[in-house]
């Protein structure tokens, strides 16, 4: 995702002199070197100073630029939260706050580096848009959207590196604000976002081998949420699962339940997320997720339970 981000941003910057990136001593790999060499005046490193990263981005945007603020998600959103709220959202400026390594990607770094409640936090602020692409292709599409839009601030939630491509054969194109069907079935529907969507696809494969017909959708735009798309998914399937790398409250699961109640959805709906607990375990990301019930076996067992 990091490389896809860099490459897409480099291409955007090449075409548009208003695209800037402001990093806080963390830089995406890949094409960022090219960006830095070719457009040094548009690559700013504030150092370990995230509050000023956001404030400087606001100042750039107030003068007509469209900057990206980039660092690890906990530091780009939580540390300078009030700057994100006041400088970016209150003033409604087209600045993209990139939360890199969100979720529990940094599985050995401890709770200080886990971003488990960012969708709730970012979505709570008026004017904020929240995007969470599931793979490198969606990441590039999201970057292209962020670099060109003037609607207001965006929180762009990314994984780290090495995520597989999941959307090469998607049914729907990527369109901000629309739920994106990747596979269309008729019985079970899996709604997810971000790199953990891979787990949803693995579950879908297994269910299909067992003769079930499964839809999988990438809900990459968490705000504004595609209520109609979700309502349709809840209406057209008997069984709906939400899978997310986020605490249970304030993320996709609680929003889908809200919609399900509003439309009196006839399906059976369960939400599978991280628990409302800090994680004191160390290991691989999959091991951390499994400890919170987000493993293939546990999810498979939950489908018909």
């Amino acid at each position: 995702m990091r490389n896809a981000f860099s490459e897409a941003l480099y291409e955007c910057a090449k075409a548009d002199p208003d695209v800037f990136i402001v990093v806080a001593d963390i830089s995406p790999a890949g094409s960022m070197g090219k960006f830095q060499t070719e457009y040094p005046e548009r690559f700013l490193n504030v150092g370990v100073a995230e509050q000023s990263m956001i404030g400087i981005c606001a100042g750039l945007a107030l003068k007509g630029c469209r900057p990206f603020a980039y660092t690890i998600a906990t530091f780009s959103l939580y540390r300078p939260f009030e700057m994100v709220r006041d400088d970016l959202c209150y003033q409604n400026l087209p600045v993209t706050v990139v939360g890199m390594g969100a979720g529990v990607v940094y599985s050995t770094l401890g709770g200080t580096h886990h971003t488990m409640e960012d969708v709730a936090v970012a979505s709570a602020i008026p004017n904020m848009q929240v995007l969470s692409p599931c793979d490198p292709l969606e990441t590039a599409a999201a970057v292209r959207y962020c670099a060109s839009q003037t609607r207001g601030p965006v929180y762009l939630r990314l994984g780290k590196a090495g995520e597989p491509v999941l959307t090469a054969n998607a049914v729907d194109p990527f369109e901000v604000g629309r739920l994106r069907t990747l596979r269309r079935g008729s019985d079970v529907c899996i709604l997810s976002y971000g790199p953990i969507l891979k787990l949803g696809l693995d579950l879908a494969d297994r269910l299909e081998r067992e003769g079930r017909s499964v839809s999988v959708a990438s809900v990459h735009t968490l705000k504004p949420l595609d209520r109609e798309g979700i309502a349709a998914a809840l209406t057209r399937h008997r069984r709906v699962l939400v899978i997310e790398e986020h605490v249970p409250h304030g993320g996709l699961g609680s929003r889908v339940k809200e919609i399900a109640w509003d439309i009196q959805a006839p399906c059976r709906l369960t939400c599978h997320s991280l628990r409302d607990e800090f994680i004191h375990l160390y290991g691989t990301t999959d091991e951390l997720l499994e400890a919170h019930g987000l493993g293939l076996e546990a999810l498979h067992a939950a489908v018909d339970r």
Binding site: Q51, A58, L60, G64, E82, D86, Q91
Partner: protein, 277 residues
């Protein structure tokens, strides 16, 4: 200062008359509302007046000044409002509806309102935004200078120091910041509650800024200091000020940070301003 750099467009008498007029107008507005941070506005009256009338380039007819003003100490914005009213940027009606339903002006500047270039109110935000603006002007060849007015209280915010470090590291010679150093914050005199806050000039110099200190109620001194800066680095002016300046019973009395004078206090204040003239 060499003679050719000595300012020649500054009229100290006119500045004094303007500042007296602004204080009177603020007092008038104080009679419509219960609170307006009157002492905070009086503290930086000469500073903001000097920036608008002598240091920033005037807006061409129907356009905007190439320079930008950021009221980082948002609670002092009443002085900005009365200047914008006089410049015709804000209307009499806007001022009449200050803090009232149907109006657009509140106790802190709100981006999108006429003449307001950034929303402030929470302390420690303005300088970073000003750094970003100055950098944008520089990178895009806009040629504008950004002027930010800070309270001394907000210099206690860590975020202000992040901006101080970045301004000089990025090289923003088109950034002018002025600290309204009235030495007062909610719980007392800063020099007593936080003695290590001083000295200030040396702190900014150590961070690579050009810095100077003047009497913040001496308009000519403010003008000379800012216009005589070397323009190679960001410039910080410490204006030594008196909170509530101009009205004896408000000067250095914390309650006037926020409240409005009653009718009798209002009359007394007007008389004092007239007497000074």
């Amino acid at each position: 200062m060499p003679d050719h750099l000595r300012p020649n467009s500054f009229d100290a008498v006119a500045a004094r008359a303007r500042c007296r007029r602004y204080r009177r107008r603020i007092l008038e507005i104080s009679q419509q509302v219960s609170a307006l941070h009157i002492a905070s506005a009086f503290s930086c009256t000469e500073i903001v007046d000097c920036l608008y009338h002598a240091l920033m380039r005037p807006a061409p007819a129907g356009g905007r000044s190439p320079d930008t003003f950021v009221m980082s100490k948002g609670h002092g914005c009443m002085i900005q409002y009365v200047i914008l009213e006089e410049l015709g940027v804000l209307s009499r009606r806007d001022m009449d509806l200050y803090c009232k339903a149907g109006g657009i002006l509140g106790c802190h500047p709100d981006y999108g309102n006429p003449g307001i270039e950034a929303s402030t109110g929470s302390l420690g935000h303005g300088l970073s935004m000003a750094v970003g603006m100055a950098y944008a002007e520089k990178a895009r060849g806009g040629g504008g200078t950004i002027h930010a007015v800070l309270s001394d209280g907000e210099v206690q915010e860590g975020s202000t120091w992040e901006a101080v470090l970045m301004a000089s590291s990025l090289g923003t010679p088109n950034l002018v910041a002025v600290i309204d150093n009235n030495d007062f914050q909610s719980l007392g005199r800063t020099s007593r509650t936080h003695p290590s806050f001083y000295p200030l000039v040396e702190k900014f110099q150590a961070f690579g800024w050009e810095a100077a200190e003047v009497d913040g109620h001496d308009s000519a001194a403010i003008f000379e200091a800012v216009s005589g800066r070397d323009r190679k680095r960001p410039f910080m002016l410490i204006g030594k000020t008196t909170k509530g300046k101009g009205v004896s019973y408000m000067e250095n009395v914390p309650i006037w940070h926020y409240r409005s004078p009653n009718r009798q206090e209002f009359e007394t204040a007007l008389k004092e301003l007239e007497a000074e003239a």
